[in-house]
C-alpha cells in the first residue's frame, strides 16, 4: 500500500525508541512461546491419551497391587475389548536423577494397546525371542547413548531379585518411536514373564491395568461396570479414562496452566502499558504534523489508520521475532535435561500468539489513534 511507506518512515523517526519498543514486545512474545512449550510438557500425556483407554488401579491407592487374575475377568465384562497389566518397577539407572519409567509388560499386549508405539518388526521379534530383553524409547536411548545389544543394569528399590541382590540386568533388543509429537518415548519396557520368575516377592501381583473399551462414548459406563465387578473383594478397583488419570497427576503438580497464564498475562500487561504510553507520546509529539496532514486533506479516519498502522507494524515485527526466537530456543531441547517427557512449541499456541499480536497492536494503539482522529486542525496547527 502506498501509505505503508509513510507508516514505516514515521517509525524511523526516533530509531532508538522504536528499537526499544520492538525489543520489549519481542521479549513478551518470547516468554509467551517458551512458557507455552513448558505448559504443553506438563500436560503432555493428556492430549494424546487414548479416548478408548481406561486406567484401572487399586481403589485405595496407586501403590497397592492388583492380582494378575483380574485380566481375564475384565475381558469378560461387556464393553471391554482388551485388558493388559503394567507394573511400576521404580529402579535406578546409575543415579537417581537419571529418572525414567521402567515397566514389565506382555509384549504383544503392549503393541496392541498402544499402537502409537512404533517399532520395527526386527526389534519386535528380538524382544519376543529374548526373555531378558528390553525395548526403550528413542529419547532415553539417545540420552544415555544406548545401542541395541547393550547390557543395562538397573538397581531395584522395592523389587529385590530372587538371588537377594538389588541389581537386575537387561539386554536392550529394540528401540521404539512415538507416532505423534506428544507421545512419550522415554519409557523402558521389559518382559513380564522375566519379572515374574526373577522377583523375590509379590508373585502374581501387578501394578495396574490398561483397558480398551469397545465404545469410547460409553467409557464412563464401562469403567463403572469394571469397578462393580471387583467391589467388595479384598482388592477393589477404581477405573477411569486415561486422560483423566494423567490430568490428575498434572493437577497434583500444581495448577500449572493457571500459573503460567497469569505470568504471561502480567508480562503482556506490562508491555502493553509501555507500548501504549510510547504511542501516546509519539502522537502528542506530532500534533502539528498530524494536523497538517488533516489540513491538506487526510480524513479523520485516515489519520486514525496511520497511527494504528504504526502500532501494528511495531507489534508484527516484535511479535514475530519473539515467537520465532521462542521456536528456536524450544527446538534446542528440554531445559531440565530430560525429565520432561516432551518439549515442543504447539502449533495451536503459535496461532494464538499471532492473534495476540493483533490484539496487542489494537489495544496499545487505539487510544492514541483516536486522539489523532479527533485533533482539531485549527487548534493543533500552530504548535
Amino acid at each position: 500500500m502506498k501509505y505503508f511507506y509513510l507508516v514505516w518512515c514515521n517509525l524511523r523517526r526516533k530509531k532508538l525508541r522504536t528499537l526499544l519498543t520492538v525489543l520489549s514486545i519481542l521479549v513478551a512474545f518470547l516468554l509467551f512461546g517458551y512458557l507455552a512449550a513448558i505448559r504443553q510438557a506438563f500436560n503432555a500425556g493428556i492430549d494424546v491419551a487414548g479416548a478408548d483407554r481406561l486406567v484401572v488401579r487399586h481403589k485405595i491407592s496407586i501403590i497397592q497391587l492388583l492380582p494378575e487374575t483380574y485380566e481375564s475377568r475384565m475381558e469378560q465384562i461387556p464393553g471391554v475389548d482388551n485388558a493388559m497389566h503394567m507394573t511400576w518397577f521404580g529402579g535406578i539407572y546409575q543415579k537417581p536423577s537419571n529418572f525414567f519409567a521402567q515397566m514389565p509388560v506382555e509384549p504383544e499386549e503392549l503393541f496392541d494397546m498402544y499402537p502409537e508405539y512404533l517399532i520395527s518388526d526386527e526389534h519386535k521379534k528380538a524382544w519376543l525371542d529374548t526373555k531378558s530383553g528390553v525395548i526403550a524409547g528413542r529419547q532415553i536411548a539417545e540420552r544415555f547413548g544406548w545401542k541395541v545389544g547393550d547390557r543395562i543394569p538397573i538397581q531395584a528399590t522395592a523389587w529385590t531379585h530372587k538371588s537377594g541382590s538389588e541389581t537386575w540386568e537387561f539386554d536392550l533388543v529394540g528401540i521404539y518411536d512415538g507416532a505423534e509429537k506428544g507421545t512419550d518415548d522415554t519409557q523402558f519396557f521389559f518382559r513380564y514373564d522375566f519379572f515374574e520368575e526373577s522377583r523375590a516377592w509379590g508373585s502374581g501381583l501387578v501394578g495396574w491395568y490398561v483397558v480398551r473399551v469397545d465404545d469410547p462414548q460409553k467409557a464412563a459406563e464401562t469403567a463403572a461396570t469394571i469397578d462393580a465387578e471387583f467391589a467388595n473383594s479384598p482388592r477393589e478397583t477404581k477405573a477411569e479414562p486415561e486422560g483423566a488419570f494423567i490430568q490428575g497427576f498434572a493437577n497434583q503438580v500444581g495448577n500449572i496452566g493457571l500459573i503460567i497464564m497469569s505470568i504471561v498475562a502480567a508480562a503482556f500487561f506490562t508491555i502493553l502499558l509501555v507500548t501504549g504510553n510510547t504511542m501516546a507520546y509519539t502522537v502528542y509529539e506530532r500534533t502539528s504534523e498530524l494536523a497538517m496532514l488533516k489540513a491538506i486533506g487526510f480524513s479523520d479516519r485516515g489519520v486514525l489508520g496511520l497511527v494504528l498502522g504504526e502500532s501494528f507494524l511495531l507489534a508484527i515485527i516484535g511479535g514475530s521475532l519473539g515467537l520465532g526466537l521462542a521456536w528456536i530456543l524450544v527446538s534446542m531441547g528440554d531445559p531440565t535435561g530430560g525429565t520432561l517427557p516432551v518439549f515442543f512449541f504447539p502449533v495451536k499456541d503459535l496461532l494464538l500468539g499471532i492473534v495476540l499480536i493483533g490484539l496487542m497492536a489494537l489495544t496499545a494503539g487505539i487510544l492514541p489513534a483516536m486522539q489523532a482522529q479527533r485533533l482539531q486542525i485549527a487548534d493543533a496547527i500552530r504548535r
Binding site: K2, S288, E289, M292, A295, I296, G297, I377, I381, R382
Partner: protein, 234 residues
Amino acid sequence: MSDGRGNGLLVNLDSVDKVFKRGSEEIHVLGGLNLGIPRGEFLALMGPSGSGKTTLLNLVGGLDRPSEGTVEVGGERIDKLSDRKLASWRSRHVGLVFQFYNLLPVLTAQKNVELPLLLTNLSRAERVRHAAIALDIVGLSHRAKHYPRQLSGGEQQRTGIARAIVTDPTILLCDEPTGDLDRKSSDEILDILQALNREQGKTIVMVTHDIHAASRATRTLYLNKGMLTTEPEE
C-alpha cells in the same frame, strides 16, 4: 472544477461570524464579515496579532466552520459539507503554506511534496513526475533527496510551496509564509508566489504582518476587531 457563477468571485463569504469558547467565556473573533475574492487575485491580509487573520484564512480553506453565515468557494457551499467531504474537498482544491513549514522530518523533500498526491488515484510513477515538476517550479530539483534538517529555512519553505501546488489547487492559502525567514529568503519566496500568481493565474490569499510582503500582493485588506477594512487602523 466548476467556475463561480453570479459575480465571478472565486471565494464569497457572507455575514460570517466566528465565536470561540474558552471554558465558559465566549470570544467573538469575527462578526458579520463579508469578503469577496475574484479569481486570479493575490490578496494580502494584515492586522494586529489576535485580530483573527488566521481564523479567516481557515474559514476560506475549509479548515474551520463559521458560527454564522456562509462560505462559498468555487461555487460550492463548503460550510455545509461534512467533515469527511470537507477533507476530500481540501485535498483537491486547497494548497496550504505554513509559517513553520510543517514538513515531515522523516521524509525527503520529494516525498514531502508527494504527500498530497497519496490522496489521489495517481500511480506511483505519476506521483513522482508531478512532484518533480513542482520542485522544479520552485527551483529545488537539486535538493529533492534531502531531508528537511539538511535544508535551510528558505529551502524548506520552497518545499512547502511545492507541496502546496503539486495538486494544482484552486486556491493557495499562505499563513505568514515569510514569518520565519531572513530578508533574502523572504524575497525568494515572494518572488515564487508572485510568479505563480502572474504567470499561472493562481489565486492566493496570504496572511502577513510584513509590509514588504504585502506590497507584492494585488490587494491588501486589514482586519481589526473582526471587521475588514481597506485602510490600516491607527
